[in-house]
Symmetry: C2
Subunit: 242 residues, 2 copies
């Protein structure tokens, strides 16, 4: 039909196995908050972010390399750690030239799944680095899988909205036969000018704001291009692609 690469959206980690990752750039999406925090830390000068799947591993690795161990479980700073998963913690004064060793409930788990399934390339995306992600995907001209981290395998609105934002921007460059992608783009088109007003509808908003008062985190995580770098995964680390 045409020679454009394909684009698919996986709306839950439990559906990731349905897609061929080995020939695709996989965009790991965890808007609240792992991939927003990763963008923030790297934008503010972190040397790299090392995603890991457990708190003990985060502590061990950070000790070995004099890095900063950080992470959350169920929305809170994980037990045993001093730093959490808020993008606002990682300002330049704190994070510049540091290595962040990060463990989270959903985002770092999804990244590990993409690795296990031999993704061709893994990048990290959220609203704070929307344009960097779109520019990269258009330039690479490879197949794309937008991987939403969700919440413990459940579908969530914020990750799907970001997938929709990417699709909205780059759809002309791809062949898209994927109902999830069409749904995501429809959702984003409807709410694109009122993302922050729409946020209280999201179940995760209630978890973060009503339980932990993290309204400023929500606002940061939904602001396009506020930390517009491209984190690419290589050899166990997310680093900025220059």
């Amino acid at each position: 039909m045409n020679n454009k690469p394909t684009l698919h959206t996986s709306i839950s980690p439990a559906l990731l196995h349905l897609y061929d990752l080995s020939n695709s750039v996989v965009v790991v999406i965890d808007v609240f908050r792992a991939t927003s925090t990763i963008a923030a830390a790297l934008y503010n000068g972190a040397k790299c972010v090392i995603p890991v799947d457990s708190v003990p591993k985060a502590i061990e690795i950070s000790k070995n390399i004099s890095g900063i161990a950080a992470g959350e479980r169920d929305g809170m700073i994980a037990e045993g750690l001093q730093h959490g998963n808020s993008p606002l913690e990682y300002n330049r004064t704190f994070i510049e030239n540091q290595t962040l060793v990060l463990t989270t409930t959903n985002g770092t788990r999804l990244l590990q799944m993409a690795l296990d399934k031999n993704a061709d390339t893994i990048i990290s995306g959220s609203f704070p680095n929307l344009s960097a992600v779109c520019d990269y995907l258009m330039a690479e001209n490879k197949n794309v899988v937008l991987g939403c981290a969700g919440w413990k395998d459940r579908f969530n609105l914020e990750d799907t909205l970001f997938a929709g934002a990417v699709i909205h921007t780059i759809q002309k460059h791809f062949t898209i036969h994927c109902d999830s992608s069409l749904m995501a783009e429809t959702l984003y088109s409807k709410y694109k000018n009122k993302l922050i007003e729409f946020a209280p509808k999201m179940t995760h908003y209630h978890r973060l704001v009503e339980r932990f008062g993290l309204i400023e985190d929500i606002q940061y995580c939904l602001t396009p291009d506020i930390a517009n770098v491209l984190p690419v995964y290589s050899d166990g680390k997310l680093i900025v692609r220059k």
Copy 2:
């Protein structure tokens, strides 16, 4: 907060395990075409529909009870059967007072999953019996899980649109903290007056229409209340609730 029952939407069989079915009415949704065909057959006077998970079982059971064995695999009449999964096959002349023994790729599989997970009650829903489903759910006043059959575990638009139609109609009677449900209702609200015009965007439309020419099936399956009965599962059979 309030005493309304809860409503959740499972947008793929691969996510059904995330929901508590044992205290819920589960609505099995396979718009193209199992649950539309079930509504059509029962509306046109079938005694009952027996959903089974394999072609040999459909043949064996239909022989024992002098029923009609029918089913599809990958959109076509299954090998070894004479009747398929088109609602238009089951007009009154053909199906009245008959028992239909039906096996399909997605819908009957999801029904079996709901049974295995001890659903409190299982009913079958599609646009042809939208009002019957909504009336029943409001009257029962129990927790609800809208179960989309999807396509081989992938999300699809048509099942989610039907979930959205149900939510659009009954949402005031339920407590809904579920991002999938909000997405489904948003999607339905956007397309409710142009479902048939929207159909060519669906991947399953291409499977059914471009490969098999089933445009009339699509139109039937997207027409609200054209076969407005309520199929309830009991003792291995779907029968009309009077």
